[in-house]
């Protein structure tokens, strides 16, 4: 029984179960497939937000270019799907059949070498993760080994986001340019636009997201997680305890990149296109806001953050586009000034103590006389029975 309890504590199974319930049961039952597909889209952004919790919340490294990795994963998947949709039969009206339409429009007559690996699905799946991770490794290795961090690193990630955006838009023959890759219909012959396909893809997304959260939680509760928190607090002390600090930052950054790549690929599958508007500076900063609103230290919170902000965006930008942008601006300012730990932080600091206060009051009222000296400084106690969020790993191991 102790191992089950410790498992629940370690992986915060309470809050995770709640999330799974919401995503796997409540939403599919209450929303029509169109709205559910939208939620699936929001969940792909949640991958990026979860990665940001690791690299920003725990690692203390702010990346303003996660869109790059999201886009790289998304484009990898898009290239595979585009090639499949551009078989000689369906493209026979083109001047060069068998290649994607935008290449034809740009007078390209044969498939560029860069595209060849994406003819195979297994290779594409590997590249969805490998390409973002490789780029992340390159950037972070160069930067962290030289002790570049903080604001400088954030600016570099912005520059990389800008470079990739301009590159993609400029090289429209190879990438589809500013319109991106559209008209993606089938995955190995299976039509991804039918309702049943959308359900399957949605659940695939949920499963992968939950698996990512479990993986990240495992990392958080390992010595690596403790070290990340220690590094955020006192990097020098960690270094002088014999750890090569840069390696840990590189690992976390690459982890976030890989997760973002997976999110991007799932996005392409569910939405049916990929364009440079998800790669640049503005979408990258928006992804940071998802994590910030949900709670930069909370994996589950990041998912809620992504869902809420995007739902708000869809709701408002249709009816009150002007108001929405002001709201977004307010969100940025509010999150940094008023609630830096996001919704999860508010939950932890306001709702959990309130709930405990109520329970104590109820317990006292029920028992006569009141129990002797059980101080409510069981604030150190884990609130796992109400699925609370943890900001710090367990304070003490007996």
């Amino acid at each position: 029984m102790t191992t089950l309890k410790s498992l629940i504590q370690r992986y915060q199974l309470g809050s995770l179960l709640l999330l799974v319930l919401l995503l796997a049961v409540v939403l599919p039952l209450t929303l029509d497939i169109f709205r559910l597909n939208l939620v699936g889209k929001y969940l792909t952004y949640a991958f990026v937000a979860v990665g940001l919790v690791m690299v920003w919340g725990y690692g203390g490294v702010l990346s303003l270019g996660q869109g790059v990795f999201f886009g790289l994963g998304g484009y990898a998947m898009a290239m595979f799907l585009k090639l499949e949709a551009s078989d000689p039969e369906s493209t026979k009206i083109q001047s060069t059949p068998g290649i994607p339409d935008f290449m034809d429009w740009n007078q390209i007559t044969e498939l560029p070498a860069l595209w060849l690996p994406f003819k195979s699905l297994p290779l594409t799946l590997i590249l969805v993760i490998a390409v973002p991770v490789a780029l992340a490794w390159l950037i972070s290795f160069a930067m962290f080994k030289r002790r570049v961090g903080g604001v400088y690193f954030a600016i570099i990630t912005q520059a990389v986001a800008l470079i990739l955006t301009v590159l993609i838009i400029g090289q429209q023959g190879y990438t589809g340019g500013v319109n991106g890759m559209t008209d993606l219909k089938t995955l190995l012959g299976w039509d991804t636009r039918t309702d049943s396909a959308k359900y399957i893809l949605y659940y695939a997304c949920v499963v992968l997201l939950v698996a990512s959260i479990v993986l990240c939680r495992w990392i958080q509760t390992s010595k690596l997680g403790t070290l990340l928190l220690a590094m955020r607090d006192k990097e020098d002390r960690v270094r002088f305890s014999g750890y090569d600090v840069s390696n840990f930052k590189v690992f976390t950054f690459c982890l976030a990149a890989g997760l973002s790549g997976i999110g991007g690929a799932l996005f392409t599958l569910q939405v049916g296109f990929m364009s440079p508007s998800f790669v640049g500076i503005v979408p990258s900063i928006e992804m940071v806001i998802f994590a910030a609103v949900g709670g930069r230290m909370s994996l589950v919170g990041a998912v809620y953050g992504a869902l809420l902000v995007n739902a708000g965006k869809t709701l408002f930008s249709e009816s009150f586009p002007d108001l929405w942008l002001f709201l977004m601006a307010g969100l940025f300012i509010g999150v940094t000034m008023a609630f830096p730990m996001g919704l999860a932080g508010l939950w932890e600091s306001r709702i959990v103590p309130w709930w405990k206060g109520r329970r104590e009051a109820l317990r006292r009222a029920a028992v006569q006389p009141p129990p002797a000296a059980m101080p409510p400084a069981s604030a150190v106690e884990r609130p796992e029975d109400i699925g609370g969020q943890h900001l710090n790993p367990e304070p003490a191991r007996p």
Partner: protein
């Protein structure tokens, strides 16, 4: 194409780069002062530039409708106005937001991005989403031809002159004025500056406002080379950051050199490659060099 033709094209291309250099330098100066003083990267800096540009536009409209006779003279006055309006806006922003996020540079980044979004939306709502341009006075039009086949636009020369004036002004202010002394003291050692009676918070506010004011002047320069819209600021913001980081954040000489280098690299490569590839090349070069030398070109020697 003769050799002298190529020389002329090279010069003119180089000169086109100078207008870009002017805008980048003015933006970079403002950012460098703010970053050197407070360690704050102001993501709304582009919007302060836009404030300056819109001020020029509104001054132009005002003069045209109310005092058309003053058209020839309004521009320099409008530039001063642009500085003042941006200065005031910067003062407000520092007072209302930045000073609460003291010592949290990453959060300041995010918060100022919020300000940037908010300002852009204010522009859109109160001025309009379409791009506008002020009517430039006659003496700014046309070009000067010092040699056969070499046409240098006068507004480019004006912008360059303005930039040099402002840069010199900033350098003199930093090294001769009381404000400059306080800034340099705070940059070197904030605790000691506080201990010797310098109100570092007031200095911060003044510095931030001056930095924004300079961005306003950049906006004035910008109106001579392009039209102004709500998102015009975002065109230059990343480049301005890179100018500052590349030059070595607290070094003004570095800012000048890196602004020049970046502008010229972009402009000259535009001649050989497409516009977008030139941008990609320039940015990639900067990122690569920063990877090899993260402290920038002219970093101050700090005790490591």
């Amino acid at each position: 194409m003769t050799l002298s033709d190529m020389w002329n094209i090279g010069l003119m291309q180089g000169f086109a780069g100078l207008s870009l250099f002017a805008v980048l330098l003015l933006m970079g100066l403002g950012l460098a002062i703010i970053f050197g003083q407070m360690g704050v990267i102001n993501m709304a800096h582009g919007e302060f530039m836009t404030i300056g540009a819109y001020t020029i536009y509104m001054a132009s409209v005002f003069t045209e409708t109310r005092a058309p006779g003053l058209m020839a003279a309004y521009f320099p006055i409008a530039i001063v106005l642009a500085f003042l309006v941006a200065f005031a806006a910067g003062w407000l922003v520092e007072w209302g937001l930045i000073r609460h996020l003291y010592q949290r540079p990453l959060d300041t980044l995010l918060a100022t991005f919020g300000i940037s979004l908010g300002l852009q939306q204010i522009f859109r709502t109160f001025i309009g989403p379409k791009e506008v341009s002020p009517t430039l006075p006659d003496w700014l039009m046309g070009s000067w031809a010092p040699a056969e086949g070499l046409d240098i636009p006068i507004n480019g020369l004006f912008v360059l002159g303005l930039t040099l004036l402002v840069t010199a002004g900033v350098l003199i202010a930093l090294h001769r004025s009381r404000w400059g002394l306080r800034v340099r003291a705070t940059v070197s050692n904030r605790t000691m500056a506080n201990a010797t009676g310098i109100d570092t918070r007031k200095t911060d506010r003044l510095t931030f406002a001056i930095g924004c004011g300079i961005a306003g002047v950049a906006g004035a320069a910008f109106t001579t080379i392009g039209s102004t819209g709500p998102t015009s600021g975002s065109l230059y913001i990343v480049d301005a950051f890179l100018v500052v980081t590349f030059g070595g954040a607290a070094s003004l000489l570095g800012t000048v050199v890196s602004a020049f280098g970046i502008a010229q690299t972009q402009s000259i490569s535009e001649f050989f490659l497409t516009g977008s590839m030139a941008k990609v090349l320039t940015l990639s070069l900067i990122v690569l060099i920063l990877m090899l030398r993260p402290q920038g070109l002219f970093a101050s020697k700090v005790r490591r």
